[in-house]
């Protein structure tokens, strides 16, 4: 087994747009992801089991095995075992963190094996998406009427 076959990179990606948020490079035949600090890729997330995913290398390539209570999802379908192909994404629990699998390491020097657990919970906010969703609701007749009604109610309450 050549060493290059064992070189993989896992990217934590934003489920909304697939943007890579953080990457980990490995060069080994078995990689575990889980909440346990001894996992190869440890992460703090309430949906993630102690050992949630095991990636195993064999002659056929890389296989993903789900060991987590909340399952692993590929294309929104729950999977137990799955043959990984380059660029494929999978998600721990249907609402948990999403990863992209790349079968080669990042160029040396750009990967971060050093891992700070608190950096995992960077809360991402997409202001334009928020604005759009707010506007969709705010333009409805119901919302407009409610807005007027409560304004009236608050006025009544302060005057009575």
């Amino acid at each position: 087994m050549s060493d290059t076959e064992l070189a993989i990179t896992l990217h934590l990606v934003d489920p909304a747009d697939g943007r890579s948020l953080q990457s980990w490079a490995f060069r080994q035949a078995r990689v575990t992801i889980g909440r346990d600090p001894t996992a190869d890729l440890p992460l703090v997330d309430p949906y993630v089991s102690r050992v949630h995913v095991e990636l195993l290398h064999s002659d056929e390539g890389w296989t993903l095995c789900c060991l987590g209570r909340n399952g692993v999802y590929v294309d929104s379908k729950s999977v137990d075992r799955f043959r990984l192909s380059p660029g494929m994404t999978f998600r721990l629990a249907n609402v948990g963190p999403m990863f992209r699998f790349d079968p080669q390491a990042e160029p040396v020097g750009t990967s971060t094996l050093c891992f700070d657990s608190s950096s995992m919970v960077v809360l991402e906010l997409n202001p334009s998406d928020v604005r759009q969703r707010v506007d969709e609701i705010a333009v409805t007749d119901y919302f407009q009427q409610l807005q007027q009604k409560v304004r009236q109610l608050r006025r009544d309450r302060t005057t009575t």
Binding site: R35, L123, V150
Partner: protein
């Protein structure tokens, strides 16, 4: 009037609301809790309230079959304990939603009169002489939750520390602002061990421009208890209980919400 709301289910909203109401009552107040999560009522379980005991529910009031106070049940002795049964305070009342699937279907099909719910909320505060009325809402944004939010003096938004909740809750924050809700408080619940609490607080307060009143830990004791039982009674010294006490102090320092 205080509404608790979350963008998604599973944030521990009903649990937080029930325990918060219990602590508010224990602080010597008359507190009512109303379950406006008509589609999936649940808070009665946390209170250990037997629905078969309930002759009337919120649904009956909304259809004009009873007065709002007829659907209110005194759960003080069971949930607050050691209160004088004849005493005026503390008092804890629950107005449950019907578990009857026909009733639930009817609400979903026909909706209900906004004005009537509004009247009911004010009437129950007057007639039961409540110091605080807590409204447990259905997760997500729909007409019912918008109404409860719109009517509140204080809105407590509960979220978990993940980006989906963070994003979704931002929508509710903005809608609440447009509805001119006077006070917006944020509770981050189910924080896993080892998470940097101050970093989360900074991120949430920065993005929402509202106060984070509590960062509550994800706790194994709560999971074991499930939704069956009041956590604050069972674990009075737990960090989760301490966090809720912080919210109670915050609410008490504000104006009475009746």
């Amino acid at each position: 009037m205080i509404s608790t709301h979350s963008f998604r289910g599973g944030t521990g909203k009903s649990n937080t609301t029930a325990n918060l109401a219990t602590l508010l009552a224990k602080a010597g107040h008359r507190v009512g809790v109303i379950d406006t999560d008509i589609q999936s009522p649940g808070i009665h379980v946390v209170f250990g309230f037997d629905q078969t005991r309930a002759k009337h529910a919120l649904n009956d009031y909304l259809w004009g079959r009873c007065r709002i106070e007829d659907a209110a049940y005194d759960i003080t002795s069971h949930c607050v304990g050691k209160a004088h049964p004849e005493g005026d305070r503390p008092k804890l009342f629950l107005i449950p939603s019907s578990l009857n699937s026909g009733e639930i279907a009817r609400i979903l099909r026909e909706g209900y009169d906004v004005g009537r719910l509004n009247d009911g909320l004010h009437d129950v505060i007057d007639r039961l002489r409540l110091d605080y009325l807590l409204i447990d809402t259905h997760p997500g944004v729909n007409e019912e939750t918008l109404l409860s939010i719109a009517l509140s003096d204080t809105l407590i938004l509960i979220l978990r520390p993940d980006s989906q909740d963070f994003q979704g809750t931002a929508v509710t924050v903005e809608l609440a602002r447009r509805l001119e809700v006077p006070e917006l408080l944020v509770v981050v619940n189910k924080l896993p061990d080892g998470m940097d609490m101050e970093m989360i607080r900074e991120q949430v307060e920065g993005a929402y421009r509202s106060e984070v009143v509590a960062l509550l830990p994800l706790n194994a004791e709560m999971s074991r208890l499930g939704s069956g039982g009041l956590f604050v009674n069972r674990f009075p010294d737990h960090p989760f209980t301490r966090g809720l006490e912080g919210i109670v102090r915050r609410l008490l320092s504000g104006r009475a919400a009746g």
